[in-house]
């Protein structure tokens, strides 16, 4: 048992399965000074809209927010790559005093004439409202002048959590929907929501649906295109992955355009197959779709099963810690890891809801630690206590794993390898195996001692 100190105020966001009652606090602003792994509202908006490749993304504020989000994600485009540019109004002191509207206006006009985007997203960062900029009015004026949709994204960092940023992004996107021509769209058609085409994942998933005989009207937002989004209300069904970010949009589309939605995940064989079957079942009036789906699932699983079994033999019995953005991904990861015979001993998310944590609790084994909005000390503490062999998370969690001497698998948007779908599961298994089985661990302590912490000599001074 490690003696890394925890904060009392954080106790209600840490749960150990078996210790009833279960009453997980979540969805609240991170505790000041806790060193949360979360980012901010702006981050939430930026990640959702980022892959829209033919839109201009202009970040209104001082330089930091744009500099830190320049071309850092593995979201691929099959065509334009405007999303990989970082544009900022780069507000300076005089702008803070006199306002940034003029700068924003001219920056937009200049960028739109230079890059001819299909739409522009203007992200408000922390100080924009405080210095009194009316971003909505500037966007409207530029939209009228240029003839393209110029959409404000209300993503001031402090106005809520990352989840509010998702919502702001969904609201901005929603204002595009309903504007395009829907003629010619098949009755057997879907939108893929919450798939960001990391390493080409959306292309794989799209190809499954196409083989099933289903038209994909738009992917929001992987390899995204403004015109596709504009006509996405012509689809019959919304298929939502990464539900934490995109359910809001699906709800709005249901309400306004009457498009139903289902929640799916493409991580792991089980969930990928279930996603395809669920979509096929929705179009049950065409039995051919289900037939094709069965064949696709059979073929795809057959293509990867043998190697997965080989890997399973080598990794089974290992213990994993997972800490991800949305809880829905954690569900899939638990299943995918179980398939490989790996036990999850810690599961946490930045933005899970009460209902998500209930499901997580049901899924997890006894004594598993469940964390909401954790920090690096909590993650370290429980990784040590539970003697995990593997950590699955993002860039910020990587050094935690490595310093503690355990393997790591990046499952965040910065990665370059597709982990979704059947091939993605194979990639995932390979990566898990590669990191766990690396010979480098022979030189690191098996399980790091944290005993000195309890003796009050935490830092060698």
């Amino acid at each position: 048992m490690s003696n890394i100190p925890l904060l009392k105020e954080r106790e209600s966001q840490i749960f150990r399965k078996g210790k009833e009652p279960f009453n997980m606090t979540c969805g609240k602003q991170s505790l000041a000074g806790s060193v949360s792994q979360r980012a901010c509202v702006f981050c939430g908006s930026r990640v959702v809209l980022y892959p829209i490749a033919d839109a201009l993304h202009l970040i209104h504020g001082p330089i930091g927010c744009a500099a830190y989000t320049w071309d850092i994600r593995g979201a691929l485009s099959s065509g334009p790559e405007l999303h990989r540019m970082s544009f900022s109004t780069d507000l300076r002191e005089k702008d803070v005093i006199f306002g940034g509207e003029k700068k924003l206006y001219h920056a937009l006009i200049d960028l739109i004439s230079q890059y001819a985007p299909k739409a522009a997203f203007v992200y408000s960062t922390c100080i924009v409202g405080i210095i009194g900029d009316d971003v909505g009015a500037v966007c409207k004026a530029v939209g009228e002048k240029t003839g393209i949709p110029v959409l404000p994204v209300h993503s001031e960092g402090f106005k809520g959590t990352k989840k509010d940023g998702y919502k702001a992004a969904c609201n901005a996107m929603f204002s595009l929907i309903g504007k395009g021509d829907v003629s010619g769209i098949s009755a057997k058609s879907i939108n893929i929501l919450g798939e960001f085409n990391i390493g080409g994942e959306a292309w794989m998933i799209k190809s499954y649906y196409q083989k099933m005989g289903i038209e994909v009207v738009s992917v929001m937002t992987g390899d995204g295109r403004v015109d596709d989004i504009r006509r996405s209300h012509g689809a019959s069904l919304n298929v939502v992955q990464c539900s934490g970010s995109m359910t809001h949009l699906a709800e709005k589309m249901k309400e306004v355009f009457g498009i139903p939605y289902i929640r799916v995940s493409y991580f792991g064989l089980e969930d990928t197959s279930k996603a395809l079957y669920d979509v096929a079942a929705y179009f049950a009036d065409d039995p051919q779709i289900m037939e094709s789906t069965k064949e696709i699932v059979r073929n795809e699983i057959q293509a990867v099963a043998a190697e997965l079994q080989q890997i399973k033999k080598r990794v089974q019995g290992k213990r994993a810690a997972i800490y991800v953005g949305g809880a829905f991904k954690a569900f899939s990861l638990i299943k995918a890891l179980r398939y490989l015979g790996i036990k999850v001993v810690l599961a946490g998310s930045q933005t899970g809801l009460q209902a998500d944590y209930k499901i997580l609790k049901e899924m997890c084994d006894e004594d598993t630690i469940i964390l909401d909005d954790a920090n690096s000390l909590e993650l370290s503490k429980y990784v040590l206590e539970k003697k995990a062999d593997l950590f699955i998370g993002g860039v910020k969690e990587r050094p935690i794993a490595f310093k503690l001497g355990i393997g790591f698998c990046d499952h965040n948007h910065e990665r370059k390898i597709p982990l979704a779908g059947y091939l993605g599961m194979l990639n995932f298994a390979r990566e898990v195996y590669q990191t766990i089985s690396s010979p480098v661990w022979q030189f690191t302590p098996k399980y790091l001692s944290s005993s000195r912490i309890g003796e009050g000599s935490m830092v060698v001074r």
């Binding site: 979360r38 930091g64 206006y105 910020k396």
Partner: protein, 460 residues
């Protein structure tokens, strides 16, 4: 509104496209990471600390804990005092720090938070508890770049921690190296140790951000300048401060210590190349009263020998150079010794001194064959590079996309290096660092010529 905004020409208000700079709180965080047992605390939104952590982690490949006061909507309305105090309390509880470095952000600066007052109140409220020294630095991201944040944090730390008192006079020197790599910091310490000069180097993240594998858990990674040593900086025998640009700024830690404590300050350029490194070693000889140890004389000798051996590979090579102004000036000084033409010297900083400093190194070439750009972004740099068609690009990782598009070979230096594994171990300073730079640059030029030749020479 519309008529008003249409008055100005669009040129005056273009966006920054792919910035060649970062924001001030990043520089400040880096400084605080170089103090033993210290935790940086950003007073602003949660994203500020998380983005900066991710950016630093991707470069240093080490844990980087940066706390935040996590503004909420009501914080921005009623002020951040309460949040800052909660953050300080939680940091003390979790980390038991030896110092907390509080850097403001654009948000807390814009709403006008009186951070010094909050800190006085906190100290008052906790006067019966063990409280770490609290250093406050003002780093709104709308002012300057990460470099300014860095230097301001060094100054703020020295100002706030240095005390007058009867310290045993150990004859130490203060060294303010600027934003250099952990390998550079280690090498500087080695040099000072070999000269038998006791030192206070601020910051020193050579271990905290380039540590070894742990055998036990470290709440705050070990290493860094001790608060105790910083406290004595007013008692030093002298200060060394690197950076030709910094030396021209009104304020710096070295200047403050000279004014306040009469500590003599030696302003030097970043010691890259023979000439700047010679100046550094001359100062060390004076301060220590010892000759340069043979080890360094030999390093210098080998470096000059390699200059001679390799000069034909370098001569007339055109290089596009970018990065922080002081790094650009330091590299340009080195290039001036080996016949490389830095045809483009660009920086996202904008001190106003860059052009003069480059002109000093290349008095006859400026404007004709050397283009100097400050306040530049990567689109400015790329269009200049496209125009100039240099043989080589030298700078941080963020120029890779440009180098790839234009098919120009690239040597990575400085910060950030997000696409290689050895960012922390890259050496730039002194005879040894220059040797590494010389070898890397010469080899890159040779490699490119070799690869683009149709003959396939194995003997160059």
């Amino acid at each position: 509104m519309k008529s008003m905004i249409e008055q100005r020409s669009a040129k005056e208000y273009t966006a920054t496209k792919n910035a060649c700079k970062l924001c001030a709180p990043l520089g400040a965080s880096l400084v605080f990471k170089g103090i033993e047992g210290a935790i940086p605390l950003l007073h602003g939104s949660q994203g500020c600390s998380t983005y900066i952590r991710r950016y630093l982690i991707s470069h240093f490949k080490e844990p980087v804990d940066i706390a935040c006061s996590n503004f909420a909507e009501e914080t921005a309305i009623f002020g951040g005092g309460m949040n800052l105090k909660i953050a300080l309390q939680n940091i003390h509880q979790q980390y038991d720090p030896s110092l907390v470095g509080i850097a403001t952000t654009c948000l807390s600066e814009t709403i006008g938070d009186d951070v010094p007052m909050f800190l006085r109140e906190y100290a008052e409220q906790h006067r019966n508890e063990k409280t770490a020294p609290l250093v406050h630095v003002s780093t709104p991201s709308y002012q300057g770049t990460h470099m300014q944040g860095f230097h301001n944090a060094v100054l703020a730390t020295v100002k706030s921690v240095t005390t007058t008192g009867n310290f045993s006079n150990i004859g130490h020197v203060n060294i303010f190296p600027g934003m250099v790599s952990p390998a550079d910091l280690r090498y500087l310490k080695e040099i000072l140790t070999d000269f038998q000069i006791p030192y206070m180097m601020l910051p020193d993240y050579s271990k905290t951000l380039d540590g070894s594998i742990w055998s036990e858990y470290q709440l705050i990674p070990e290493g860094g300048t001790t608060v105790e040593m910083i406290r004595c900086s007013g008692n030093a025998a002298g200060s060394l401060e690197f950076g030709r640009i910094l030396s021209r700024e009104k304020q710096s830690a070295g200047k403050w210590l000279r004014e306040k404590f009469h500590v003599d300050c030696h302003h030097l350029g970043l010691p890259i190349g023979i000439n700047e490194t010679d100046r550094f070693f001359q100062v060390l000889e004076i301060l220590s009263g010892r000759p340069t140890p043979d080890k360094y004389r030999e390093e210098r000798g080998r470096l000059i020998d390699s200059y001679v051996d390799g000069h034909k590979h370098m001569i007339a090579a055109k290089v596009a150079l970018y990065g922080e102004e002081d790094l650009v000036v330091g590299m340009a000084a080195f290039f001036s010794e080996i016949g490389i033409q830095p045809v483009l010297c660009a920086s996202g900083d904008h001190s106003g001194y860059l052009k003069e400093e480059i002109a000093r190194l290349f008095p006859s070439d400026l404007d004709q064959s050397i283009r100097v750009m400050d306040n530049a972004d990567f689109m400015d740099i790329e269009s200049a590079v496209q125009d100039i068609k240099p043989d080589l690009i030298v700078g941080n990782s963020k120029g890779f996309a440009m180098a790839r598009r234009l098919g120009i070979p690239m040597v990575r230096i400085g910060f950030p290096i997000h696409d290689r594994v050895d960012a922390s171990r890259k050496l730039h300073l002194g005879y040894r660092g220059t040797q590494q730079l010389f070898d890397r640059i010469a080899n890159k030029l040779i490699e490119y010529r070799q690869a683009s030749s149709t003959v396939g020479y194995t003997y160059m």
